[in-house]
């Protein structure tokens, strides 16, 4: 039987590395998205009051505009 153990080890190192890189890239992107989502949650939460405050003067202007017509 020929001694081909080195090639077997090399084959499995390469196969597992490639598979690991694929799985790692998916996990890494999941985590990056989770971080972005957390940041967006914060931004949306801080945006809520400012949206409400900008909405009220606009509606006031709109209501003011009706009687003048």
């Amino acid at each position: 039987m020929p001694d081909t153990l080195d090639y077997m080890i090399l084959g499995y190192i390469v196969a597992f590395t490639l598979m690991g890189l694929l799985i790692g890239s998916i996990v890494w992107r999941y985590r990056a998205f989770a971080k972005t989502e957390a940041l967006l949650d914060q931004l949306e939460a801080s945006e809520q009051p400012s949206v409400a405050s900008t909405a009220s003067p606009a509606s006031t202007t709109a209501t003011n505009a009706v009687p003048s017509r």
Partner: protein
């Protein structure tokens, strides 16, 4: 996008099943089946080589179906499916090519030769790699999806050719594991399939197919999540 609890649970179980199958197939390759007499230990690479090929085959068939379905329905989800399938299929296909080259070094005495099978598999890999590059170059989303769908249908011809070539070309040296062959005169690296080798091979192929489906499902979720984030960013920018 909100997923139902049952779907998330199914994906979780499929992930656990993939890990379990992978561990069992690892045990079978290294402990259940012994080293092959004529090739020695390197023959064990063959299980992963073939498993990865079947995994990529399932993914490229998925991309073909997704392409047809997109052209029929114009629904974005088919485009996402096609993109995800090709991205993962390329990695599986790369595992297949690289492990094949490593197996060939002691058996054929070369890392690579322009054998009909090796040539067609290289064309197949490059065709799908080009899909990602060409796709990234089209800005208009509708045009990009339409192009991607047509391309994934045409690119499948390279998969078909890869499967058929060793059965029709008599000058190939690549072994044929299953199905008919045109000749066996020039084939180098063939070995007798004992019961244990057959069982391990079939189990590893099944494992890789399950792993490919699991990764595809995760990759689709990732795509959906990315799109959701993008739309939230746009909404925030418009409100600002």
């Amino acid at each position: 996008m909100q997923y139902s609890e049952s779907r998330t649970r199914n994906l979780r179980w499929l992930t656990y099943a993939s890990i379990g199958l992978f561990v069992i197939s690892f045990w079978m390759i290294f402990f259940y089946v012994g080293p092959e007499q004529t090739q020695g230990e390197v023959q064990r690479v063959f299980y992963t080589h073939l498993g990865a090929f079947f995994g990529s085959f399932v993914l490229f068939v998925t991309a073909l179906i997704a392409g047809i379905q997109y052209l029929r329905t114009r629904h974005e989800k088919w485009d996402d499916l096609g993109l995800s399938a090709i991205e993962i299929g390329l990695v599986f296909s790369l595992i297949n090519i690289v492990t094949g080259a490593i197996w060939a070094r002691p058996i054929w005495n070369t890392w690579w030769t322009w054998d009909p099978r090796l040539t067609t598999v290289a064309i197949m890999w490059l065709s799908y790699a080009a899909y990602l590059m060409l796709r990234a170059g089209i800005e208009d989303p509708n045009r990009r999806r339409r192009f991607a769908a047509v391309y994934s249908i045409l690119a499948f011809s390279s998969v078909f050719l890869t499967i058929v070539i060793i059965r029709v070309r008599p000058d190939t040296i690549h072994p044929v594991v299953a199905g008919p062959t045109s000749t066996s005169e020039g084939i180098e690296g063939e070995f007798a399939m004992s019961d244990r080798i057959t069982t391990t091979l079939l189990f590893t192929i099944f494992t890789y197919v399950v792993i490919s489906i699991t990764l595809l499902w995760h990759r689709i979720r990732l795509e959906n999540r990315g799109k959701l984030i993008q739309s939230r960013k746009m909404k925030l920018l418009l409100n600002a």
